[in-house]
Symmetry: C2
Subunit: 200 residues, 2 copies
DNA sequence: GTGCATGGATGACAATTGTCACCAGGGGGC
DNA sequence: GCCCCCTGGTGACAATTGTCATCCATGCAC
C-alpha cells in the first residue's frame, strides 16, 4: 500500500483528486493539505511515501515545501502537479529534489501511474519540457527579478526605488538590463516573457 | 438520475471531477469536454440536465457556451465552476443564463449539492460575491477594454494603434481614460485592477 | 432640425521610461 | 594578483506614456 499526502490550494480540486486516487486499490490518501505550510507539517507528522503537491499555493509554494523536506533528508518522494509548463519551474522542482513533474493538462490516469513509478524509486518528467529546461538558463539576477516583479504589479520606477531603498536611476538600469537580456520591448513584455519561462 | 456534462480544459482536473461525481448515486456523468467548442457540441447532442463548465478554456469560454445554449433556449441548466471570484465574471455568467456560480476554492462536497439544487430549478450563488457584482459596474467601454488588453500583453501605444487601425494619440487617450476610470497609477496597474474585477 | 452623446483625431506639454556610458566597491574564481 | 560579475550609483538623452483642451464627424433622441 502506497501512502499518499495531497497538497493543493483549491479545495474542489483537492477533493476531486482524492476521490480519483481513492479508486486505486494500491494507493491510500493519508492526508490532505490546503496550503504549503500544512503540507510541510503533515509530511513531517505522517511521513507518507509520496507527496503530491501543487506549486503555486498561498504561504509556501510546493517548491519550498520540497526544498524543506530535502533539507531534512525526509524519505518522502515528491510529485509536482502543476498547471504550468514552465522550464524554470521544472528546473527548480528537480533542484528541490522532486521525483516527478506532472502537468494538470495531462490525462488523469497518469497521476496514479506516476505515483507508483516514483514510489518505486523512478522519475517521471516530460521529455520536451526537460529539454527546454536545460537548454535555457534563467539570465536574471535576483535584483533584476525583484524589480521586474514589482513593475509587473504596476509600481512606477520611483515606487520600486522607494520599496527597495534604491535610487530611481538604479531601478531603471536593472529594468533596462532585464528588458535587454530577455529581448523584450518594454517592462510589461519582459515580465510576461519571464513569467512564461517560470523565472519570475 | 441527473445527467451531467463536464467541461474543463485541464484533463487531470476533468478526470478528477468526474471521479468525484461518479461516487454520487443520483448523478451520472454522460460526457466530458476538454474545451468550449466540444462542450457546446456535446451539450447539443446529449442534452444533459446540467452542464458543469469552467470559464477560462481555449477556443470558447464557458460564458460563451452558456450564452450560445441560452440563445438556442436549451433546457440544460448551467453550473459555472471557476478559479476566479471576479464580480464581472459572475455578472456575465448570470447574464448568460447560468444557474450557479461555484468557486474551485469551495469544498468539493458542494459540487454535487449545487448540481442537485440547480437540476431542481434552484440557484447557487455566493452572497458576498453577488453583492460585489451588483455594487460596481464595469466602467470600461469596448475600445478601452481592447486597448488595455493589448497593453497588458506588452504592446506599446504605437503597436496597439497599428493593431487596431487607430492613431497613436487616440490609443493614448483611451488608455488615459481607462487609467483614470479605474483610479490606477499607470497602464500596468489599470490592467491588473481590471483583471481582478473580471472586466478584462 | 436642434441638441447631444460617442468615436476618433490633433497638438502640446509634462512625466515617466528606456538606453548608454561610466564610476566604484566587494566577492569569488583561477 | 587579476579578472569578472553583481550591486549601486550619476548624468544625459531620446522615446514613450499620460494628461488636457479642443475639434470634427455620425448617429440618435426629441
Amino acid at each position: 500500500m502506497i501512502r499518499v499526502l495531497l497538497a493543493e490550494d483549491q479545495a474542489m480540486v483537492l477533493g476531486a483528486l482524492a476521490s480519483l486516487l481513492s479508486i486505486e486499490s494500491d494507493l491510500e490518501v493519508v492526508g490532505r493539505a490546503g496550503d504549503g505550510v500544512d503540507a510541510l507539517r503533515m509530511a513531517r507528522d505522517l511521513t507518507p511515501d509520496v507527496l503530491v503537491t501543487d506549486i503555486e499555493m498561498p504561504g509556501m509554494s510546493g517548491l519550498e515545501v520540497a526544498a524543506a523536506l530535502k533539507a531534512e533528508s525526509q524519505a518522502t518522494r515528491i510529485v509536482m502537479l502543476t498547471t504550468f509548463a514552465r522550464p524554470g519551474y521544472l528546473r527548480r522542482a528537480l533542484d528541490a529534489g522532486a521525483s516527478a513533474y506532472l502537468l494538470k493538462d495531462s490525462p488523469s490516469e497518469q497521476l496514479a501511474e506516476a505515483i507508483r513509478r516514483v514510489a518505486a524509486g523512478g522519475r517521471v518528467i516530460d521529455p520536451t519540457l526537460a529539454a527546454e529546461a536545460w537548454s535555457e538558463a534563467d539570465p536574471l539576477t535576483d535584483r533584476e527579478r525583484q524589480v521586474l516583479r514589482l513593475s509587473a504589479e504596476g509600481l512606477s520606477s520611483a515606487d520600486i526605488a522607494a520599496a527597495l531603498s534604491l535610487s530611481d536611476g538604479t531601478v531603471r538600469n536593472y529594468l533596462s538590463e532585464a528588458i535587454s537580456k530577455l529581448g523584450a520591448k518594454n517592462r510589461v513584455d519582459a515580465a510576461n516573457l519571464a513569467r512564461a519561462k517560470g523565472w519570475l
